[in-house]
């Protein structure tokens, strides 16, 4: 299925919540959606006849300046097509519904995005730091992050 067909199908089902389709040259085709009803959209993508995105490739958090973004790369083994889903949330309230139960793979991916970018996945069963120590302060992949000087008495900068 081509990206615009997927977009149309989603648009019919969810209407306003599907914002736009980006097919610029140089960019992989991606669909931008509202975060409010994300879990339903993902379940639809997974289970709807003809879409059947059964394989979760990747989830990345991105710092977009004023906003934080989450990018879902999905792939369908049955239909051999792929699509990118994007959501954007403001930095002050970075709440995104957790898709952990749609694809179990996103359990750790979401924890990583929380750890490094501070995106709050609402509904995740265990949203704790995964890579950094539990008492680490700040989210290092944000563009305005500054290295701490000391951590547990150890000097951090060179």
């Amino acid at each position: 299925m081509l990206p615009n067909e997927i977009f149309d199908k989603l648009k019919i089902e969810f209407g306003e919540e599907i914002i736009s389709l980006n097919e610029d040259p140089g960019y992989e085709p991606s669909i931008k959606v509202e975060p409010t009803n994300l879990v339903d959209i993902m379940l639809f993508l997974r289970d709807e006849e003809g879409l059947e995105f059964d394989y979760p490739s990747c989830l990345s958090g991105v710092d977009l300046g004023a906003n934080l973004g989450v990018v879902y790369n999905l792939y369908s083994m049955k239909r051999a097509h792929k699509i990118t889903i994007k959501v954007e949330v403001p930095k002050e309230a970075p709440d995104v519904p957790s898709c952990e139960l749609v694809w179990r793979s996103f359990d750790w991916h979401e924890r990583e995005a929380y750890d490094l970018l501070g995106i709050n996945f609402v509904g995740h069963h265990n949203l704790t730091r995964i890579l950094l120590p539990d008492d680490w302060e700040g989210h290092p992949l944000r563009k305005d992050y500054v290295q701490p000087d000391y951590f547990h008495g150890m000097k951090v900068p060179y």
Partner: protein, 383 residues
């Protein structure tokens, strides 16, 4: 074997204790600095909680501070046992963003390097898996062979483990004159050793008893968890990115996608995962044999295509079949010399997250076998 295990588990009136056991981060069988919190009921595993991040080297932050060319050495250090396979998806991704294509000869050299490193990686996987099960001899045999592969790649790239050989738009340098002879030599030795390893390890009764029917991963669970590589194929799913989403010249090459068949136990058990690796080594040799024919003698300059300025605008998710599974890079470029975001989708990270699912109900010693059969590399998990 399964009867014996049932008996051991069903010793009804034996007093067992509920306890928590910490494994790692310094432990000989965790393949690095992984830490597992294991909950045990007697000797039966009730729950496993992996703790990672002991090797978090800030790869993604480093990428944002370096130019596209400077990132290649850091990509090498992600999965440090098969650097060539890491460079390939990254370089292909940036080339796609820039709209560059390279000649078939360069692609063939890249593919040969990647496949050589795939063999080296699988050799380490099988060797350390054997060690986990208590077999030391395969380790010595396989490392002897791996040393030969490293020599060839060293002759090619000038460094021993982390090559930094594949460049955006080309290669670091051309192959040396006796390259093909060395390849033929490697193909011969690897074939011989693999036959030996089959006798020594894979058909060994003790090894089979320890691995068969252990850590069974059903295909639907594997897909839902996003497993990839030998882990997914051992569960019987015929999914190989070199076939289903071909990159480089893989669509011109003839090779088989190997899947687990449950020869010694059930489809998707630890023995199958190891066996798929053994089969894949043979397929890699076949690929090398075919790609060798594509390297013609020519006066082509492999550095000519390397662009002077690399500042792409756009974004994409570029993926390739790494020996461990689907290695992907999500690259966002905003027209500057440094990328805005590079995210590494590491196959081991995803594969390891399955371990709580497949290790419950087995003995503690089986947990080590399951962990070894996943073939993790902590540099890639923690990045």
């Amino acid at each position: 074997m399964s009867e014996i295990r049932d008996v051991a588990i069903d010793l009804g009136n034996v007093h067992t204790e509920h306890m928590k056991l910490n494994v790692g981060p310094q432990h000989p069988s965790t393949h690095g600095v992984l830490r597992l919190m294991v909950e045990l009921e007697g000797e039966i595993v009730v729950d496993v909680v992996p703790h990672i991040g002991y090797l978090h080297r800030c790869f993604e932050k480093v990428c944002e501070q370096n130019t596209y060319t400077q990132i290649v050495p850091y990509v090498d250090r992600m999965d440090y046992v098969n650097s060539m396979n890491n460079e390939l998806p990254y370089v292909i991704g940036v080339e796609k963003l820039l709209g560059i294509t390279v000649s078939e000869r360069i692609e063939a050299i890249r593919v040969i390097c990647a496949e050589l490193d795939r063999i080296a990686s699988h050799e380490i996987a099988v060797a350390t898996f054997g060690m986990d099960a208590g077999a030391f001899t395969p380790f010595l045999y396989l490392f002897r062979d791996r040393e030969k592969i490293l020599w060839v790649l060293e002759k090619l790239s000038g460094s021993r483990l982390l090559y930094n050989y594949i460049r955006i738009g080309g290669l670091m340098r051309d192959v040396y004159p006796t390259f093909k002879d060395d390849l033929r030599d490697i193909i011969k030795t690897v074939r011989e050793t693999n036959a030996e390893i089959n006798n020594l390890l894979n058909d060994n009764k003790i090894f089979v008893e320890r691995c068969a029917n252990i850590g069974i991963l059903p295909p639907d669970v594997a897909i839902n968890y996003g497993a990839s590589g030998p882990m997914l194929r051992a569960s019987g799913v015929r999914h190989d990115l070199r076939r289903v989403d071909p990159y480089s010249i893989y669509n011109k090459l003839d090779f088989e996608v190997c899947v687990g068949t449950g020869t010694m136990g059930t489809v998707g058990d630890s023995w199958d995962r190891n066996w798929v690796r053994m089969l894949e080594m043979e397929q890699s040799l076949r690929i090398i044999e075919q790609a060798m024919e594509m390297i013609t003698d020519s006066s082509e300059d492999v550095r000519a295509g390397i662009p002077k300025r690399i500042a792409p605008k756009g974004e994409l998710y570029s993926r390739a079949e790494n020996p461990k599974g689907e290695l992907g890079f999500y690259i966002v470029g905003d027209g500057k010399a440094k990328p805005q975001r590079v995210k590494g989708r590491s196959p081991c990270y995803v594969n390891l997250s399955i371990i709580p699912e497949i290790s419950k109900g087995y003995m503690f010693a089986d947990l080590i076998i399951i962990l070894g059969s996943i073939d993790i590399v902590l540099g890639e998990i923690d990045r």
